[in-house]
């Protein structure tokens, strides 16, 4: 899974396969991180107003 494990070989099949995997993981990771951070910011923005429980 990582280039430092001994099964890792720098060949095309590893690059394609692991590339696909890390690509997917990055999107999921980045997407979630974005959502969480954005929500934290949004929540902080809500704070002063208080009672901002309304629906959008």
């Amino acid at each position: 899974m990582f280039p430092f494990s001994f099964e890792w070989v720098w060949d095309i099949s590893h690059l394609v396969f692991m590339g696909g995997l890390w690509y997917a993981l990055s999107i999921i990771g980045a997407g979630m991180t974005y959502c969480v951070i954005k929500s934290l910011i949004d929540t902080a923005a809500d704070e002063p107003g208080e009672g901002g429980h309304g629906h959008h």
């Binding site: 899974m1 099964e7 396969f17 997917a24 997407g31 954005k38 929500s39 929540t43």
Partner: protein, 412 residues
């Protein structure tokens, strides 16, 4: 704090009735959990598997639930990527069903391996040439996507929605859902396919082996295709069942209509491809290895050639024709019949590609290998059904699963 746990404007059964129902299903669940712990504690000798049946009931169940859970990715694909608005009515439910199917599949996999505590070696020491590695990676990633797709819905529970952070999180996740959905579709395409590849690459097993494109045997594409075709059928079937049980209309008829139509055409094209594949396998692939088609079916003490006819015709062509014919699919009974047949068909396909592969003898002096699952295997295979029923009940009760429920049931 008197926010009700039940979504606004919908009616749900009494707590007592609900608890009773949970208790009944919970009992079945506990039975499965007991069997599960037996298997983990005592090992796989608790199953009916043997060295001829390295893969058996569980792997079949796995493949089958993943195929049926394909409704989630395909509906997601249609909703978020193609932009079929009609499906908004059913997409939440499709996601929940998919989530149940995939979490069950993962649980079964954790049971099925001899050393569950080393299960993560599949990631750590991955062999990229193995179809199973591809399955494991895509399966777990896609499960993460399904979880992400499920979370906003959970967060819409009135009580949770009161928490500002969760409220925002839900909103923000909705915003970028298309990206997640696209990733999910990509992952699904591969893991559905690699599940097909699992059997198709077995060149030592002429019953399973298929030629293919590059590194992918034809079964790779057939599995993805069939999951896309039958997954929505299963979603419709479960929705219909939910409607029957709750005695309510939950999904707009357009959603049903569209899903059935797409499903039908997918199924028909899949059947054409599948028949072509079977023909090529029977006429070219297997004979080159010394096997004639009937050899695979005539030495079979239980179902003979009927299993092939059932898969291709009764549970393949027939439901496809029903679903593509507008008049027929408008008839709810026919539609449901077609969905049931299609679901059965894909289950038979997965059964054949797992169990019959194991059973078919390879050397002329060997016999058809027999296998009988133990109660532990059966219990753990039923476990996901009970778990699914509980999760659906909870979701239906506490989450706004069906956005058009209020509008469709104005009297309540």
């Amino acid at each position: 704090m008197t926010t009700p746990a039940i979504p606004e404007g919908v009616k749900r059964c009494s707590t007592r009735q609900f608890t009773l129902w949970l208790a009944v299903v919970g009992a079945v669940l506990l039975w499965g959990v007991y069997a599960m712990f037996l298997i983990w504690y005592k090992g796989l000798n608790q199953t009916g598997m043997n060295d001829a049946y390295g893969f058996a009931l569980w792997i079949w169940a796995d493949l089958a639930v993943i195929a049926l859970g394909g409704g989630a990715f395909f509906s997601g694909f249609l909703t978020y990527i193609i932009g079929k608005k009609e499906l908004k009515s059913i997409i939440n439910y499709a996601v929940i069903i998919g989530f149940i199917c995939y979490s069950s599949a993962l649980l079964i996999l954790a049971l099925d391996i001899g050393q569950p505590l080393r299960g993560w070696f599949i990631f750590w020491h991955a062999n990229v040439h193995s179809m199973l590695t591809e399955v494991a990676f895509c399966l777990s990633c896609y499960f993460a996507v399904l979880t992400i797709e499920f979370i906003p819905l959970v967060l819409e529970n009135p009580k949770l929605d009161r928490i500002p952070f969760l409220h925002h999180l839900s909103h923000n996740m909705h915003e970028v859902m298309a990206v997640f959905a696209a990733t999910g579709v990509f992952l699904s395409f591969f893991h559905q396919g690699s599940l097909g590849g699992v059997a198709g690459v077995l060149y030592g097993r002429p019953f399973a082996f298929r030629e293919g494109l590059l590194i992918w045997p034809w079964t790779f594409f057939l599995f993805t295709w069939s999951a896309a075709a039958v997954g929505p059928c299963f979603t419709m079937l479960v929705t219909w069942l939910t409607e029957k049980i709750t005695q309510k209309k939950l999904v707009r008829p357009e959603a049903f209509e569209l899903l059935a139509k797409i499903s039908g055409w997918m199924l028909l094209t899949y059947m054409i491809a599948k028949i072509a594949d079977t023909w090529y396998w029977a006429a070219v692939t297997a004979p080159a290895r010394g096997f004639s088609l009937m050899e695979f079916y005539s030495n079979n003490p239980i179902y003979g050639i009927w299993i092939l006819i059932a898969e291709l015709v009764i549970c393949g062509i027939v439901p496809a024709l029903i679903l593509i014919t507008p008049k027929w699919r408008e008839n709810k009974n026919l539609l449901v019949t077609a969905a049931i047949l299609a679901v059965l068909g894909v289950c038979i396909n997965r059964w054949v590609m797992v169990l019959q592969v194991m059973a078919a003898p390879l050397l002329p002096f060997q016999d058809w290998y027999m296998y009988m699952p133990t109660w532990q295997e059966v219990a753990t295979t039923i476990l996901p059904v009970a778990y699914g029923a509980i999760l659906i009940s909870l979701a239906y009760r506490y989450l706004p699963v069906f956005p058009h429920e209020k509008e469709l049931n104005p009297g309540q």
